[in-house]
Subunit: 131 residues, 3 copies
C-alpha cells in the first residue's frame, strides 16, 4: 500500500476542490451567473486557476502514482507536496494579476516533470531487468 502517496493525493484533491469553491465565490462577487464563464476579468482569472489545475491533473496524478509504484512512495509524496505548494503560489499570484502566475507555475511544472522522468526511468529499468 502506497500510504503516503495516497495521503498526498487526497490533499491535492482537496486543494483542487478549493479552487472550485473560489470560482463559486467569484461568480457571486463579480456577478457572473452560470452557465457563463466570462464577463469580468477578476472572475476569469480565478476560473483559469481552477481550469489550469484541472488541466494539469492528468499529468500530475498518473506521474505521481507511477513514480510511487516504480520508484518510491515517500519520494512521490514529498514531490507531490512541492507540486501542491507550487499550485498554492500559482493561485495566490494569479488571483492578484495574470503576470504574477509564473513562479508558482514553474514550481508545479518542475515537480510534475521530476515525477514523470523518475517514473519513466523506473519503468524502463524494470522492463530491461525482465529481459
Amino acid at each position: 500500500m502506497l500510504n503516503y502517496t495516497a495521503l498526498v493525493t487526497l490533499l491535492a484533491v482537496a486543494f483542487y476542490f478549493y479552487t472550485g469553491i473560489l470560482v463559486a465565490r467569484a461568480r457571486a462577487e463579480f456577478g457572473v451567473k452560470a452557465p457563463a464563464t466570462a464577463g469580468h476579468p477578476d472572475f476569469e482569472r480565478v476560473f483559469r486557476v481552477q481550469m489550469n489545475t484541472l488541466e494539469w491533473t492528468p499529468i500530475f496524478l498518473p506521474a505521481l502514482w507511477l513514480f510511487a509504484r516504480y520508484v518510491s512512495d515517500v519520494g512521490a509524496a514529498v514531490i507531490g507536496l512541492v507540486w501542491i505548494l507550487g499550485r498554492v503560489l500559482y493561485l495566490a499570484g494569479y488571483a492578484e494579476a495574470a503576470d504574477k502566475r509564473g513562479r508558482g507555475f514553474r514550481i508545479q511544472a518542475a515537480a510534475a516533470g521530476v515525477l514523470w522522468i523518475g517514473a519513466l526511468i523506473g519503468i524502463v529499468s524494470r522492463l530491461l531487468q525482465g529481459m
Copy 2:
C-alpha cells in the same frame, strides 16, 4: 481485485461520455459550430454539464478508488452509484434551467465528500497501525 468499484468506474465513464454526446447534439441543434463553446444559452448549459462533470472527475475517481482500497470495495461501489445518480439529476435539472441544478449537485458533492473522508480515515488508520 476491486471488481465492484471497477464496474461502477466504467458506468461513471459511460455517463460522462453521454454528457459529451449531448454537447455534440446541442452543437447541431443550436448552431454553435466548433471551436466555439458559447453563443446560445441552451447550448452553454449543456456544455457546462459536461465541463462540470469533467471538473469533478479528479475529485470523484481518486476518492472512489482510495475508499475502495482502504475501506471497502462494495461500499465504494454503492456510494459511487449515488454519485452517478446525483450527476443524472444535475444533468436533468441544468438542461431545463440553470437554477434547477442544485439538488443533483448537492447529492453528487455529498457522495464525493463521503468517499474523500472515508478514504482519509482509512489511510490515517493504516499509517497509525504501522507505527
Copy 3:
C-alpha cells in the same frame, strides 16, 4: 506490474502536455493573453485540441488501466498507442481546419471504446467466476 501500460500512460501524458505547449505558443502568436481563451479562431482551434484531449482523459485512462488489469497489459498498451495516434491525427487535422478533425477523432474514440468494452467483459467475467 503492468509495465507496458505504465509506459504508454507516460507517453499519453507527454502528448497531452505537448497540446498545452501548443496553446501557450498560440497565445503568443495570435495575441490572446491569459486569462482569455477566445478572440482568434486559430487560437481557439488549438485550445479546443487541448481541451478535447483533456475531456477524453477520464474516459481513456480508466478504460486503459481496467483493460490492462482485467484483460491484458500488452493489449492495453497497443490499443493505447492507437489512441495516441488518433489524437496526433486529430491535432494535425484540427490545427488546419475544424472540419478536418473527424478522422483522428474517430480513431481515438474507437480505441477508447475497445478498451471500455474489453474492460467491461473482463470485469463481468471475473464477477461471474466468483459466483
